[in-house]
């Protein structure tokens, strides 16, 4: 079922890529027409509720991962940290948040320790599986726990590595594939940061 929605997302991306001409100023994949991003409330790294729709006026950048993720998540967060530095004053209008796909292990303390190591302004969000499920479905996030009997990790989470940008009006606007160059993400987020909100 999860796989199915992932395939759908892939097809959607292809379709979107095909009509890319319409918004040439963005370098990521632009979602058109922009629709309101699926709203959610999760718990942040300070233990406080974080509701997406209450962030209007801010550009919200979401990445789905987990703190024991060895490799891809640190790469994405390090990239976003570099983007924030590049953005300078425009970074004030942007809120980056890691949404944990491993609520079992990722406590708020752990998330705080993890995300703030990349950037003191980053947020780490968590919620139980029932809360997460509709969010993952809506954003087309693939996430699957996989046992690793031969590893001290016990299990890992296979997951997709997209970065999602939600504009100041609360619309999901842009999707970045894993490995999108920092300068491209920076250019797009700068445009979103300078939009009226």
């Amino acid at each position: 079922m999860k796989k199915f929605s992932f395939i759908l997302l892939g097809m959607l991306l292809l379709l979107l890529a095909a009509c890319g001409q319409s918004a040439p100023q963005f370098r990521g994949t632009v979602l058109e027409p922009a629709e309101p991003a699926f709203d959610f409330t999760l718990i942040d790294e300070q233990g406080q509720p974080f509701t997406l729709s209450e962030q209007k006026g801010q550009v919200v950048v979401l990445f789905f991962g987990f703190t024991m993720c060895p490799d891809i998540c640190p790469a994405a967060l390090a990239d976003l940290s570099a983007v924030s530095r590049e953005l300078g004053a425009d970074a004030e209008a942007i809120q980056v948040a890691l949404v944990s796909l491993d609520p079992e292990r990722d406590t708020s303390e752990r998330l705080q320790q993890y995300v703030t190591a990349f950037d003191p302004r980053f947020k780490g969000l968590r919620g139980d599986e029932a809360t997460l499920a509709p969010i993952l479905k809506s954003y087309g996030v693939f996430s699957e726990q996989r046992a690793l009997p031969d590893s001290a990790m016990g299990y890992t989470i296979d997951h997709s590595g997209f970065i999602y940008a939600i504009d100041k009006a609360g619309n999901w606007r842009i999707l970045f594939a894993h490995g999108t160059p920092v300068e491209d993400i920076t250019a797009d987020l700068r445009l979103l940061a300078r939009e009226g909100g």
């Binding site: 992932f6 892939g10 790294e45 300070q46 233990g47 703190t67 024991m68 993720c69 060895p70 490799d71 891809i72 640190p74 790469a75 390090a78 292990r105 406590t107 708020s108 303390e109 752990r110 705080q112 320790q113 703030t116 190591a117 003191p120 693939f142 996989r146 690793l148 031969d150 590893s151 001290a152 990790m153 016990g154 299990y155 890992t156 296979d158 997951h159 997709s160 590595g161 997209f162 594939a177 894993h178 490995g179």
Partner: protein, 196 residues
């Protein structure tokens, strides 16, 4: 005429330099005893922090006392240290990863089978398989270094995985890592701690 000579000289010196091979920034490690030369370059490790409570973030929420309350609310009440010191069958500790390029000038393939360092309780060899933008991390028993070729451990691919990191691993420091190869035996390298 002079110009021609200096161009030729430049070309010759470039060739000589090129023959020197690997980036001069890291110390090449040559495996002892067997006579098989493995050369390891560009070894690095991502920084990792065990800081139980980053203090920067607490300014808004008031005193340090406020922070402690936050800790107690969200967990067992034993405090944050449990997160990094409790070890069951399943780890929930801090992790980090190490990368390098291993070159094998010998005529037989060799295999990286283990890595050891004093910064983590468990060190494994992992690979990341990426299909349709889905990342799947998997442990591997060994990593092949092809005969007369090289293998690159890099983000999004093969890496040395440090599980349950036991101390802060700070940017700029150098971590001694002992690598064990099936044929060449052990090789010591110094991995620099840095961001990609």
């Amino acid at each position: 005429m002079r110009n021609t000579i200096s161009v030729i000289l430049l070309a010759i010196s470039s060739l000589i330099l090129a023959a020197c091979g690997a980036a001069p920034t890291t110390t090449p490690a040559v495996a002892p005893a067997t006579g098989m030369a493995l050369e390891i370059r560009d070894a690095w490790v991502r920084p990792a922090s065990l800081a139980a409570m980053p203090m920067e973030g607490t300014a808004e929420s008031g005193s340090g006392h406020g922070t402690m309350e936050g800790t107690a609310e969200s967990g067992s009440g034993h405090g944050t240290m449990d997160q990094t010191t409790e070890h069951g069958a399943m780890s929930a500790g801090t992790t980090t990863a190490g990368y390098m390029v291993i070159k094998n000038s010998g005529s037989e393939p060799d295999y990286l089978v283990a890595a050891a360092a004093d910064i983590a309780e468990t060190i494994e060899l992992h690979n990341v398989l990426m299909e349709n933008d889905v990342m799947r991390m998997r442990p591997v028993e060994k990593i092949e270094v092809p005969a007369g070729g090289e293998v690159e451990l890099r983000p999004g691919g093969f890496h040395v995985m440090f599980i349950d990191v036991t101390r802060d691993v700070k940017e700029g420091e150098s971590i001694p890592v002992t690598l064990t190869f099936e044929r060449a035996g052990t090789v010591e390298v110094n991995a620099v701690v840095r961001q990609p």
